[in-house]
Each structure stands twice: as structure tokens, then as C-alpha cells.
Amino acid sequence: MAGSTPTQQEAQPVVKEKKIIELPEHIVEIVSDSGEGAQKAGQTFGAISAKMGNGIWTVEIIPAEIQPPPRTITGASGIRIRLGSFYVTNVGDDADLIVAFNEQVLLGRVDTGNLKPGAIILLENMWRTHKDPAIREAYVKTYDRLVSEGYKVIEVPMEQECLKYTVSPRRGKNMFVLGMLCNLYERDWELARREVHNLWIKKGEKVAELNLKLFQAGYQWAEEHLDFKFHIPSAGISEPQVVMNGNVALALGIIASGMEVCAMYPITPATSASHYLSEIFEHVGGIVHQAEDEIAAVGFAVGASYAGKCAVTITSGPGMSLKTEIIGLASMIEVPLVVVNVQRGGPSTGLPTKVEQGDLLAALFSTHGDAPKVVIACATIEDCFYSVITARKIAETFRLPVIVLSDANLATGQQPFPRPKFSRDWVAPPIDQRPVPDGTRPYDWDPRTGLSRRIIPGQPNGMYSLTGLAHDREGKVAYEPWINQEGARCRSMKLAAFQKTLKPPKVFGDPEGDLLIVGWGSTKGAIEEAVLRVREKGYKVSALNIKFLQPMASGIKDILQRFKKVVCIEINYSDDPGEELIDENNRRYSNLAWLLRARFLIDVDSWSRVYGRPYKPGEIEQVILEKLKEIK
């Protein structure tokens, strides 16, 4: 096979001179059919880059089906790696370079507008000579189209090169690609080889060796055939870092917080947190319990928490809807509970693998009656780790449910962050088993703060029955009007008391100006990057990311008031003001805009799209420029 007829590419001369292009950042994508290992190659490339001190962000490109048919537009499986000479906070705009294992998955990326005009395409060329004429034709058609559209398409004989080392190149191509990229981006040869070796050594020395060969072949091929290299200077990060996705960070946060029980029911994109947790939780005496459904999962968690074992339940949209009743119970009976919602596209089953921030209002208001709870959002992957620890503390101190909002973007994105340093304070104290002093009441609400001391089953002298019915300080069912009012009041006062402990969020940019972009959760990086860009153009624009969404810190109103216009940018649906039927009487605002308007009576505008993907800084930049025009 190695002796097949020369193709166009082989006819290319080996390059003599290399152009070295220095850039502050580059966005690379690798796309393949599902199962061809593009993600593994990309993750390793990201890790190597991080170790070389680059800022990075990687995010998986996930096909909708488990095993989509090969060579289809919607079947693209892959990864995007953004690397920069600065701390990278988001997936960035369009890709500068893409490696594609076939032209169809490539089209999937082109047609959804993910490539920069003129982007470099490294394309497997085996299809040009495929035995199926339809495939050959499709390949040539696409190739010609892309070239004519101005992309710099470089055909790469990946299959052919790999066949020199293995009979099943489909499984080794990804290392060939990694080799090419390491050459193109001047990655440290020894470091990269070590990573590849470590990646495969679990599967035995032989496998590792083969993969190293493929890696070297790719490196070599690029060295010989490509006349350019990129130089992305190090961001100078020298602190110890960890790189992981948000779901892994959540799981490690659970470990770090001293929780002992995670009850869940599988649901995308939350489940992978439980997968990872299932592997390690038992090592610290924890249990991941897969319940029969989401209701049972949250019931199980409430039971464990009531019994003094700190518990979390992890889910996504549809699961949140199902847990509504028992989250309300937890609020009413004042049992601490941490609920993690890794948000996905809604409503209903929606877009299970895609990102949305559509559950904020539901997090606050889904339960019937008044059931106070704390709602916090993770803005970064690092935040996923620490938010769980914070949530556990709040839940136990204030005896209420805390909802942690993450999303599909954080769940699968990867980013390095400073390695956490374990603190004893993170961990929940062991449960109090001492006898309860005479006269202690299970809901002995402090009239000012609503706080009361928690009694746990097993404690002598503390016996009481809790109930989701209206109850008095003894926990006894009570129907008297003032007792119901008092219970509701005390549960609400806990939020007020907690609110007093919050510090106002920090403004990104100047504390006053023309336009303030407000967001929450994972849009932080993209919004701040966009704001930075327009600030560099001289506009007076700042950004605010709100972590505590219920209650909200004091001082936010002051911040909002210091700008001429405030716009919320969130990934959830809102009506555009320009729509024919829309006016101020019926316009439906984005989630956070709704909250800010109600609380602060400031005419907060909103811009949002439900594209099922994170915003690119570039499109936010456009929105900012548009919105700036509206300011008189």
C-alpha cells in the first residue's frame, strides 16, 4: 500500500523555507467522525500547550447522535482548542485552522459559521481516490467550493502516511494529527513525546510505541510539507495549574466540600460529573446513588441531609422540573440541600448537549408557594470547583436549598486554573450527635434572622417530627394564621440575613460609563473579552458578572446607575425590541434582565439568542457596538 501511485500531494516538493508567524492567539479545531479520536488529540494538544505556559480553552464538538453515520454534516465530532499568549477565558470567535478527517464533517463546521474567512484547512485527502465514485465526487465538489471561497485548503495524506505504521490507520490518525499540530505550533518535542507516551502506556508498551511513531510521522510530515509555523508566545503562567472540564471540577468540589452523598439520575450534560465522581467518591467514603428517577434522587438527598450526611443532587433542565416539589419541601422543612443544575438547551428536551442559560427564573420561582432558596452561578471552570464548596456551607448554615447553576459550556469546556490548595475549612464538620439540651426546639427561629439550630436524628432528647405542612417552632402542624405568617417570614429572613454577608460584584472596566453589559454564569469570559475589545477602541463600556442571583448583593443598583445604558446578555430566549408585534407591554426580557428590572426599576435592556452554543466575543462586540448607538 505504501507503494501506491503518487498523489497530487506526494508530488509537492518538500519545503525548504519556513515562514514563522507570531500571533497573540490561535483557534484550532479538529473534526472527525465519531470514534476517530479527534477529542483525544485535541485534549493532549491543549495540555501540552498549557504546560508551555499558554492560556488555553478547549471545548468538545459533540454530535447529536451517539454514533452518527460516518461522513455526515451533523455528525462532526471533535474539539476546538483556543490557545493564547494571555489567560484565555472562552472559546473565542471563529477558527483560524481546522484539521478535518473528511470533507463532510468539515462542511458541518463551515456551514454553521465556525471558520474565519481564509482559514487554513488541513484535510485528509484519501477521499479523492476513494473507490466509491459518489464519495470521490462529494470530496472534489467540496474541495473546489472551499478553495473558491478563499479558504487555504491543504490536502494531507493522513491515511496513506499512517498506513506505513499500522494496518488500521483509523485508530491512529489522531496521533498523526497531533504530531502535525505540535510541529506547526512549535511545541516542545520532548514534552510532547512524554505526553503521548503517558497517554498510551496504560495500554502497554507496544501501543505506546506505535502511537509515538504516528505522532512523529505527523510531526515529520508537517516539517517537510508545510511552509509555515505559528509562534504563540507563552502567557508566562508559572504557577501550578490543573486543567479539567467543569463537570470534573464540580465532582472535585464535592469531594473537597466534605459531602458524603450524591444522588442522581442520568441526564446530559450533567451526568459526566457523576461518572467521574462514581470513580473516586468511595475513596472518601462517599456514595453516588443512581436513583430510579429525579424525584427519588432529590428525595434520597434530602433524606441523607436530614440524617446529617451532607448531600447533593446533580441534574439538568428536565430533571430540575421534576425535582421542583421536593426542593420546595427542603425549603419548607429547612433541610440543607445542594442542587446542581448543569443547564442545557430548553424548553422540554430541547437541545440536550447544547448550552443555554434558560433556567434562572425557574431556579428562583419554580416551586409553588414561597420557598426561599439561594441561587448561585458558576462563571468559570474554576468556579465550578469552589461554588460547590460555597453552596454546601450556605445550605448548612442557613438550612435551605442552594441551587448551583452551571451549563453545558462549562461542563465540557477545559481550561487551566491555579491548582486549589486544600483547606480544612472547606469540609463539612462531622454531624453533631450530642444530646439536645432541654427546651431546644427544632425551629427555634431567631426572630431577626430566621436562623435556628438544626437537630439531627440520633440525638438524644431531640425527638420531633418535621412536616411540609405549616408548622410552629416545635415543628408541629399548625393552622393558625399568624404561625403560618411567622414561618414564612423567618424562612424569608434567612435570605435577608445571608444577603448581608455578600459583597458587591466587581465591575470589569471602569466603574462608570456609557454602557454596562451584565451577565451571569459562563458568558463571563466572552463578554469581558468583547468589552475589552471595544474599550480598546475607546468606548466607555464595562461588564458585570453576577454570581449570587438570589439574593443579590447590595451595591448592584449603584453600579447599574453609573451607566447610561445597561444591557443583559444571556444565553436564553428574549424578544427582540425590533419585532413587529413587540412593544413594551409584551416584550419578554432575558432572565436576569427581568430580575434586575424588578428589583432596581432600571430600564435594563436585553440581548440574547438561543443558538445552543456559547457566544463568540466577536458577536458580543457587534451587539455592544449596536447598543452603543442607541445611547443619546
Binding site: I255, V284, G299, F300, G458, S465, T467
Partner: protein
């Protein structure tokens, strides 16, 4: 229902011996309500077993029967309709020292709670679950229940209910990992007590259905069984119930049944013309989920830290030339 605190049990045996030690608020059930008898039986059990009240947790859903926890002097969790079992499982999963009891109504367990019922049997977690089966929705004032007999006039079936009542015993006996199934009637207190006691001593999930009168809404539904003791079928066995003489005289309709015989248990359960009282099935060799999943040892702060560091190491990208965190931390 076998806790781990055998030692403690011996210790406190003397401390609690009066029924009053286990009585909570005054029961507020209608007069003549069968729930009262179940309450008494359970209070007797706790006293006789000398269980410290703080070590017993009663979990219930919503319904007349679910008021149960309030009437015990113990820990009580009066939760939401249909979800007592998952809550009880969560309580037990890491608290082997607690004795967990679950009280549910027939609507609570067999209607809205039926997913949890099936899976509680399948998971087989140590606890004692009692269904107060009055074959009607009591608290909400007379709607049809899954176990209501066909033709029963209720407020939602004013022309008579449409289908045969569900037989919860045959369902329960069909679930893999079933480990203890029994039935009792509240109007024979001694046998009720005997059944519950056996259930309590079983290792694993004990499921007891108790036929319970609701004089307010179904005053005579159990009359055929009450008026003619021949309509009660007692299951006896050396490892099951044994009747004393006086009861034996009244309840002559008896059959020897080996609780390890699942096929026979299903056959007996299938015949609803008689009210069966006794242990239908018992198997202690079934895996018990909470025992399997119990941690082998206590996790210290140091262990937790070590695991976290080990995991962080897996994700570490120490910039080339950067320090190793372990050295830093040391």
C-alpha cells in the same frame, strides 16, 4: 431492619419500657380508625425491643396514615405524598445506627409512589415499611385507590370504580431482590404485632401490608373478613407465625407455608377471596444495598485531602519549569 447497635440495645433495655416513652402527640384519627391499632403495635414493638426513641426515625408521605410520625415519640419525617421511600433510603444509607420505619397509605405507596415502591424492593435497603391499606383515599375524602374493589362508589367514581383493585402482594412478590413480604389486619392486634415484629427482625427491606379500616369512608369494606374469621387465612410456619391457643380457636383457616417458597407465596397471594395474614416470603440471602455500599472505614480529613491531591495530580499541568505543587505544600 437490623441495625448495628446491638450493644446499645442491650445497654438501654432497662431505660425504656413504658409505652408512654414512645407516644407522641394525641392521635387525631377518626374514632374507630384502624391506624390506631397499627400505632399501638409499633409502639409496643419499640418498647419490647427497647429501642431508644432517638434511634428510631419514622418517615411517611401524605395521607391520614402518614400522620403516624407525629404520634410517635421518635424522630419523624412527614414528607410529601408518595415519596416516603426515597427519603427513608437517603436517611438509612449512611446511618446504620438508625432504625428506619416507613408508614404509607395505599394511595401514597401504590399509586403516586409506585415507582419508589418497586425500586425500594429492588434496592433492598434495611428498613420496615408498613402500608396502611384502607383501599381508599382517606385524607382527601373518599376517592378511588388502586386497591379499591371494582364497583366501589367513591367521589371520583360515583357510578362505581371501573377496574379490579390492584393486588399489591403479587406485584411485590414479582420484584427481583424481594426479601420480606407479609400481610396483617389491624383488627387482630396480636397477629399484627407478631407480623411486624418478624418484619423488624428481618435483615433487608421488610414490606408489610396491613388491611386497615376506615370507618369514615368505607365502614364495611372488611366486614366479610371481620364477621367471619373463616375468611382470614393464616399462614403458619416454624419460622413464621405460630398461633396461641385462643387465637387458634377463632382462626381455624390456617395453612402451613414455608416463607422461602416464592412460587407458593405468589399463588397464595393471588387468591384474594380470603384475607391472608402471615409471612408470605422471606429471604435474607438477598443483597442488601446499604450494607454493600457502606464504607469500609471512616474517612479522616487527611484521607480526604490525599484523595483530592491525587486527583488534582491527574489534571495537573505544571508549566514547564514550574514547581511541583507537592513540594510547595510540604
Amino acid at each position: 431492619m437490623f441495625g448495628l447497635d446491638l450493644e446499645r440495645l442491650l445497654d438501654v433495655e432497662d431505660e425504656y419500657r413504658r409505652l408512654e416513652d414512645y407516644q407522641g402527640s394525641m392521635p387525631r384519627w377518626c374514632s374507630g380508625c384502624g391506624d390506631n391499632a397499627i400505632l399501638t403495635a409499633v409502639q409496643r414493638l419499640l418498647r419490647d425491643e427497647g429501642i431508644p426513641p432517638e434511634k428510631a426515625v419514622f418517615v411517611s408521605g401524605i395521607g391520614c396514615s402518614s400522620r403516624f410520625p407525629h404520634y410517635m415519640n421518635a424522630y419523624g419525617f412527614h414528607g410529601v405524598h408518595g415519596r416516603a421511600l426515597p427519603i427513608a433510603q437517603g436517611i438509612k444509607i449512611r446511618r446504620p445506627d438508625l432504625h428506619v420505619f416507613v408508614n404509607m397509605g395505599d394511595g401514597d405507596c401504590f399509586s403516586i409512589g409506585s415507582a419508589h415502591w418497586i425500586h425500594a424492593i429492588h434496592y433492598n435497603i434495611n428498613m420496615l415499611a408498613i402500608v396502611h391499606d384502607n383501599r381508599i383515599y382517606g385524607l382527601t375524602k373518599k376517592q378511588v385507590s388502586p386497591t379499591s374493589p371494582k364497583g366501589l362508589k367513591t367521589n371520583t367514581t360515583p357510578y362505581g370504580s371501573y377496574i379490579e383493585g390492584l393486588n399489591p402482594l403479587t406485584v411485590t412478590l414479582g420484584v427481583t431482590n424481594v426479601s420480606f413480604v407479609a400481610q396483617a389486619v389491624e383488627w387482630i392486634p396480636d397477629l399484627l404485632y407478631a407480623v411486624i415484629r418478624q418484619a423488624f427482625h428481618h435483615r433487608g427491606f421488610s414490606f408489610v401490608r396491613v388491611l386497615q379500616r376506615c370507618p369514615t369512608y368505607l365502614p364495611d369494606i372488611f366486614d366479610p373478613f371481620i364477621n367471619d374469621p373463616q375468611n382470614i387465612l393464616i399462614l403458619t410456619h416454624e419460622s413464621g407465625l405460630q398461633l396461641d391457643e385462643s387465637l387458634a380457636k377463632i382462626y381455624r383457616n390456617r395453612v402451613e407455608h414455608d416463607p422461602s417458597d416464592i412460587h407458593r407465596a405468589r399463588e397464595i397471594a393471588s387468591d384474594e377471596s380470603k384475607a391472608v395474614v402471615g409471612i408470605l416470603y422471606r429471604n435474607e440471602r438477598v443483597d442488601v444495598y446499604d450494607e454493600i455500599r457502606r464504607p469500609k472505614r471512616v474517612t479522616t480529613l487527611e484521607m480526604r485531602k490525599a484523595v483530592l491531591e491525587r486527583e488534582l495530580d491527574k489534571f495537573a499541568v505544571n508549566p514547564v519549569g514550574g514547581d511541583n505543587h507537592n513540594e510547595k505544600e510540604a
